[in-house]
């Protein structure tokens, strides 16, 4: 762990915290429909959009109507993506003449992008045309993020409102999130990325002459000489910007944010990580402002920072140690950090990012539901790779996805005040609202669906060997980690992978699609029902017996609830996967 590494990590968090307030205040203004600087340009667009689509912006929706609108919209966007992918061979902007995407894969991908997961069972360079990427996938990077934002705002209104039946208008929240928040930042960010070297063009892949032709042994055992290199191109920067900002994470290329055309420089890397946390951190401030208790927003943000720091510390430490298995080879390998090299476990990492930035990126992308990667999690050390998995297993509430992180965290807040209420024997209250049986039941449903999907699917895959074991790239406990990570990532709508697992099979495409679908929509419904129920309640004045949700004690309690729920649920499977692998690795065992 180098001093410079710590400086970069500190700088990153300082930037996140500095931007939280302006970003949060701006989003409060956007969703409360107050004046903003962008109104001159955007308000006419907004009005035009409502007129064309028949939206009545002053209509208020109860939680059921809000949920149905969200579901129907998601279905419509899913269908569009499926059609574009299937028909890409007859549509324009396909200079590589790629064929239409197979049905199972197209379905998996459509679900994946609709649910903000961006799990990728395919190699984009050889599967998706430029039009599929732009119109089929990048659009979802906006939509699914805007849906997440809308849902979070609806939940916050549920807390803030009193004795009301409605949570706002889904279409208005969707529109304002897209036009005021996601699109303008993406435009600026995309151009900054181009300035760092991210490509943005529509030309066919380039072919260049290798400086040193290579002779390799072909599949038939005969030597072949390779004299050229094909370089994939495309409209990358425009997609990259919203891929990060919307915590989507689906790479334009297979290498994702490790690919030099997606993430060419340390500065582009820094900005990509920052853009993952920008909106989720800001939303905590928005929460505080909209419920009239700014300190509560900061207390929630503090819990997120604590969880983020614990993960970063662990991964940075584990990856800096290097891989002890490499000490056994005859010609010695140096994994020690020095002025001239980062050292550590460099398999699956890029030199320009080294250990600190790869560890930080892995933590950030799984704290949020982003899932972009700048290093291959499959090749991380056992404990270094466990952190991304644990981050998702805890529900991606440390910052979390755009919107999804905040509403996930608020479900944990409901649990935390409930447990605090039990401890002192009082009816639990959250910001003046009594938390009653219905709220807790729905919160428990939300918290139980998640492990049920992950552990259920993983268990079926492991127990029925013909289904999924042949897809493993690594054996022993690491193989179990690959499978558990896949369902964790899908259910948590993260999309990162232990990518050695070949998931482009019928079983994985279908079961992962189911995990992604239920992991998003089955959890959203109980969450919205809590919001609807909260909105209808009275607000009781605070008394001396009210549990304050603005103090460090609350932050500690909230963090504790998250860790205890996660540990109780997932410790057994983690001990059979990464923990066991860690012990065996240090005992010198290979698989």
């Amino acid at each position: 762990m180098t001093l410079n590494g710590w400086l970069q990590i500190a700088l990153f968090m300082a930037a996140v915290l500095l931007l939280a307030k302006p970003m949060g205040s701006y989003m409060t203004a956007v969703f409360e429909r107050r004046k903003t600087v962008l109104d001159v340009v955007l308000s006419p667009c907004e009005r035009l959009l409502y007129r064309v689509t028949g939206v009545n912006p002053s209509e208020e929706m109860p939680w059921t109507q809000y949920a149905v609108a969200m579901l129907v919209f998601s279905a419509a966007t899913l269908l569009l993506t499926y059609v574009v992918e299937r028909l890409q061979h007859v549509l324009p902007l396909n200079p590589q003449h790629l064929p239409g995407v197979e049905p199972a894969l197209a379905f998996n991908t459509a679900i994946s992008f609709t649910t903000n997961t961006n799990w990728q069972s395919y190699v984009p360079e050889t599967t998706m045309s430029y039009l599929s990427q732009m119109l089929g996938l990048a659009t979802h990077n906006f939509w699914s993020a805007a849906v997440g934002l809308a849902l979070a705002i609806a939940f916050v209104r549920g807390i803030a409102r009193r004795e009301m039946k409605t949570l706002g208008n889904f279409w208005v929240d969707l529109t304002r999130g897209t036009l005021w928040v996601l699109l303008p930042i993406s435009v600026v960010f995309a151009l900054v990325l181009v300035s760092q070297g991210v490509v943005q063009n529509f030309k066919a892949y380039d072919t260049v002459k290798l400086v040193e032709p290579q002779t390799i042994t072909g599949a038939d055992g005969k030597p072949t000489t390779i004299t050229t290199q094909t370089i994939a191109q495309g409209p990358v920067a425009s997609q990259e910007a919203i891929k990060m900002l919307g915590t989507n994470g689906g790479g334009f290329f297979n290498g994702n944010s490790a690919h030099p055309f997606e993430n060419p420089t340390p500065l582009s890397n820094f900005l990509q990580m920052l853009s993952i946390f920008l909106i989720p951190a800001g939303l905590c401030v928005t929460l505080g402002q909209m419920v009239g208790s700014p300190k509560h927003g900061w207390a929630v943000l503090a819990a997120m920072v604590v969880l983020w720091f614990a993960g970063t510390l662990t991964t940075f430490w584990a990856e800096s140690q290097g891989n002890p298995a490499l000490h056994t080879v005859d010609a010695a390998v140096s994994q020690t950090a020095s002025r001239e090299q980062a050292g550590g476990n460099m398999e699956g990492k890029e030199v320009r990012f080294g250990i600190a930035n790869s560890a930080l990126f892995a933590t950030v992308t799984t704290d949020a539901s982003c899932g972009a990667v700048n290093g291959m999690h499959d090749s991380f050390t056992p404990l270094g790779g466990m952190v991304p998995m644990v981050n998702i297993l805890l529900g991606e509430v440390a910052f979390g996805g755009v919107g999804a992180g905040l509403y996930g965290m608020l479900v944990f807040v409901v649990m935390a005040v409930f447990i605090a209420g039990l401890m002192v024997g009082r009816t639990p209250e959250y910001l003046g609202k009594k938390i009653e049986a219905f709220d807790v039941q729905m919160a428990m449903l939300y918290l139980l669906i998640f492990p049920l999907l992950i552990l259920g699917f993983a268990a079926v895959t492991v127990l029925l060997p013909n289904l999924g074991l042949s897809s493993l790239a690594n054996h022993g406990p690491h193989g179990l980690s690959e499978i558990v990570y896949a369902y964790t990532s899908a259910t948590g709508n993260n999309g990162s992978a232990f990518a050695g697992l070949n998931a482009n099979t019928h079983w994985y495409n279908d079961s992962l699609a189911a995990a992604m679908f239920f992991g998003r929509f089955m959890m959203v419904v109980p969450m919205l029902s809590i919001a609807g129920n909260l909105a209808s309640k009275k607000i009781a004045p605070a008394t001396a017996g009210t549990f304050p949700v603005t103090t460090p004690l609350f932050t500690v309690l909230l963090t504790g609830v998250i860790l205890i729920v996660g540990a109780l649920t997932f410790f057994p499977v983690l001990s059979l996967g990464p923990v066991l692998e860690h012990l065996l690795m240090h005992a010198g065992q290979l698989f």
Binding site: T77, E125, G348, R352, N357, E482
Partner: protein, 186 residues
Amino acid sequence: MKKLFVTASLYTLVTAVLLGIVYPLAITGLAQLTMRAKANGQLIERNGEPVGSALIGQPFTGPGYFHSRPSAAGTGYDAGASSGSNYGPTNKALVDRVATSSKAESNGQPVPVDLVTASASGLDPDITPAAATYQIERVSKNRKVTTARLQALIDEHTQRRQLGLLGEPRVNVLQLNLALNALAPR
């Protein structure tokens, strides 16, 4: 309910055109107007022919070149199929591959780890300054260039941390080898 379906469909189509067509086209237009070389991948030409991209790594394995890292992209540095090896840390195939690479690269001292490990993208354009310096003796012998001259060449091509703080020091292997070819044509 029918109204909802109409609204959802229209909303999808209108925003699809805005976000999926207008937005990327506008960014492409702006990028091509203001940052043409970067938007097109910073291709490097020699004698009127493209020989690579400043951002994408190439395989170098001969004794007269500075070697790049092992690559799991296609048959190696296939920039049409980026990929890491995805070997787990306890995978025997990983240890075997590292053993082969480190034997081939070794000059008697411990080999810098990046030189014997595959990158995440399989297209890593860089090696660490440690890995470049490590290869000086072999290259010097094969190219008949003094080690001092090669060290100067490496220093010249070493990119330090961006803004003095971000990332790690690195040497672009393709550009280093192109400079080597200019210095000592073969």
